[in-house]
Symmetry: C2
Subunit: 384 residues, 2 copies
């Protein structure tokens, strides 16, 4: 097996390291050489002996000896060209590029099917946690009904810090940023887009559907206040940025929103930069996958496992269907904070200082808003 | 694909149900018919139309049309004959038989290798939770260092009940038994043998070793008192029956023992009949798999996923090595309860009524026992 790694940042070097350190073991496993032939990046880098350094990705794509192209440059432009070209040439592709798979998954999957090449992207969701492949293969007996997850470590770190260190959002953000946890484009993390990329990928696979990524409604954590975290805690909840995908009666519901989770739920106890995915199916009921969502070796671990899997023939034929509409999941319990009492149905009520807090019964968001009329309030989803 | 299901108890019927209900979807996936040709059991049963009922498993084994033999009769005698015969005939085998794989895994795996047939047993560990295959395939980039888990739902149910309902062991056992949670041979659950079967299987795969199952030291939950559960809670711990496997300097450590787990750990929050497996690796760090450990459709879900996987060619060559010695994991923190103060090093001390409770620093068990000399005390492992 000859591998070309395109993109030599944190994860790229992690991949080269693992393939170097584990070479002997991995070769025994597939009874074949495992060789990184190329390392490709624009910046000058020092690679282990024997790896050809190039700045031109065409060197990798045009070499017939290369079986596996590893795309780790990110973004949705050159990365897309590289992946499509590689698949067209019958090469297998491994990528950690969540944005690209979320935006252009259909085109990429169809290209892979057409040229009978393979595309793996386990590292795109949940860092190193195996969840993309398990959801497709190990749960194959089941119809997946619902996926819920904490898929963005940065926002989970910030929310944890706000709770444990009694900080407001801006203070916690400054600390997260100082630790290098926030992406260059902070909006990806904070406004829920990164989580949306990931739930998009999980939903595509679980439901075998293609759809326009932009139809996913996502709300980030900028509106979550320290006050709401405290009230949620008093009522037995913790606030998490939850990405959710669900079969609805009339189609598929997918959204990302800050959500109150009962403190006894496993998901509520996923703190710091950890990720979690909970999958609910018709036979297996619920199963949870938990682990670190980011980090050089964490992510590289998933990339290398994918590289090894390209060596296995796969004979299952997943058939995707294009879906026009994706809906937000609006039937839910809601948390409402208001500065005066409200005339609504509720399951739980709490009042302190000038705040009136309600946990409603499950209700359609439109019906709830209709009841609330022109009131001014803070509103969050509640799971369960 | 033609399937013979041998053993038509709870899980067997679950498998037939799922294969009937999901027939169309599964056939699309593998582009081939998925047919249960035989249902084999000693007791008279009613099967869906088209499935041949037989009391003689030779009918299944001797039919060249049968690709996959599903062994669900349990036990280590006839089940073993069936599996070995099926593999010898080049048929693929799926089983949920943890005791058999734990005791005779080596013979079975070697038979499968010799005849290039496949053996899958995802349902043997953690019910429907995908963990056997993910640990082998999705974590392949990693060297697995440690596996810890709650692998027996019955004892976890009893321990949970003792804590939440303030019951002693016998009272909780009676309730669990009344709910049908306890195996006919109660010792399998209560003395940790069932958990030992499962950690044996996980360790075999993770470390690619064969060893004598009987070398696993296991302690069950009969010695866990309500008093210890309460004291553990006061000190920030919960008692769980933990099965553990670990690379040691001089070999491999595997054991099963009631263990205090810090209340904030995910594993400590796995209650009722749920199972959990935490795997620690060199790159991915720790990853957790959680879900229901038993139940008709939960277990059948894993069996059916395995059946589908027999359709995929696998080309990885796992190479197992026989290991003579398996050690208990004795370097640990310990919880000690004694009716008078002790002269030992400790990390935490608590006293109430006439009880003196210590959490020691990490220490070799022999050294600790040497310090304790002829004292009489209650001792439990502490994780961390």
């Amino acid at each position: 097996m000859k591998i070309g790694v395109i993109g030599l940042g944190t994860v790229g070097f992690g991949v080269v390291d693992i393939l170097t350190q584990q070479k002997e073991r991995l070769e025994k496993l597939i009874q074949e050489e495992v060789v990184v032939k190329y390392g490709c990046a624009l910046n000058e880098v020092t690679l282990p002996d024997g790896i050809i350094y190039t700045q031109d990705f065409h060197d990798v794509l045009n070499d017939d000896e290369v079986d596996v192209v590893v795309e780790l440059i990110g973004g949705t432009t050159i990365a897309k060209t590289i992946i499509l070209e590689a698949l067209k040439k019958g090469k297998n592709v491994v990528t950690a590029n969540k944005a690209l798979i979320a935006h252009d998954g259909q085109e990429i999957f169809e290209m892979a099917m057409k040229y009978q090449s393979k595309i793996y992207y386990e590292a795109a969701v949940g860092g190193g946690i195996p969840v993309v492949v398990p959801a497709k293969e190990d749960l194959v007996a089941n119809e997946i009904e619902k996926i819920e997850g904490i898929l963005n470590g940065t926002t989970n770190f910030i929310l944890t810090l706000m709770e444990t260190d009694n900080l407001d959002f801006e203070e916690a953000l400054t600390i997260a940023d100082g630790l290098g946890y926030v992406e260059a484009d902070a909006s990806l993390d904070l406004d829920g887009k990164d989580a949306a990329h990931k739930i998009c990928i999980l939903a595509m696979n679980a439901f075998e559907i293609f759809f326009d990524f932009h139809k996913i409604q996502c709300t980030g954590i900028r509106g979550v206040t320290k006050k709401d975290i405290d009230y949620a805690k008093k009522l037995g909840y913790r606030i998490k940025l939850i990405a959710q995908a669900k079969k609805l009666e009339n189609g598929y519901g997918i959204d990302v929103s800050p959500t109150l989770i009962g403190i006894k739920d496993m998901v509520a106890n996923v703190n710091q930069a950890y990720n979690v995915v909970e999958i609910t199916c018709n036979y297996l009921e619920n199963v949870i996958f938990y682990g670190k969502g980011a980090g050089r070796y964490v992510t590289a671990s998933a990339v290398v496992s994918d590289i090894m899997k390209t060596h296995q023939p796969t004979m299952w034929q997943h058939q995707y269907q294009y879906v026009e509409d994706i809906f937000p999941i609006t039937y839910s319990k809601y948390y409402i904070r208001c500065d005066h009492p409200l005339d609504i149905d509720y399951e739980m009520y709490y009042s302190q200082d000038h705040d009136h807090i309600y946990i409603t019964n499950p209700i359609e968001l439109n019906d709830l808003k209709h009841q609330l009329q022109n009131e001014s309030y803070n509103l969050l989803k509640v799971r369960g």
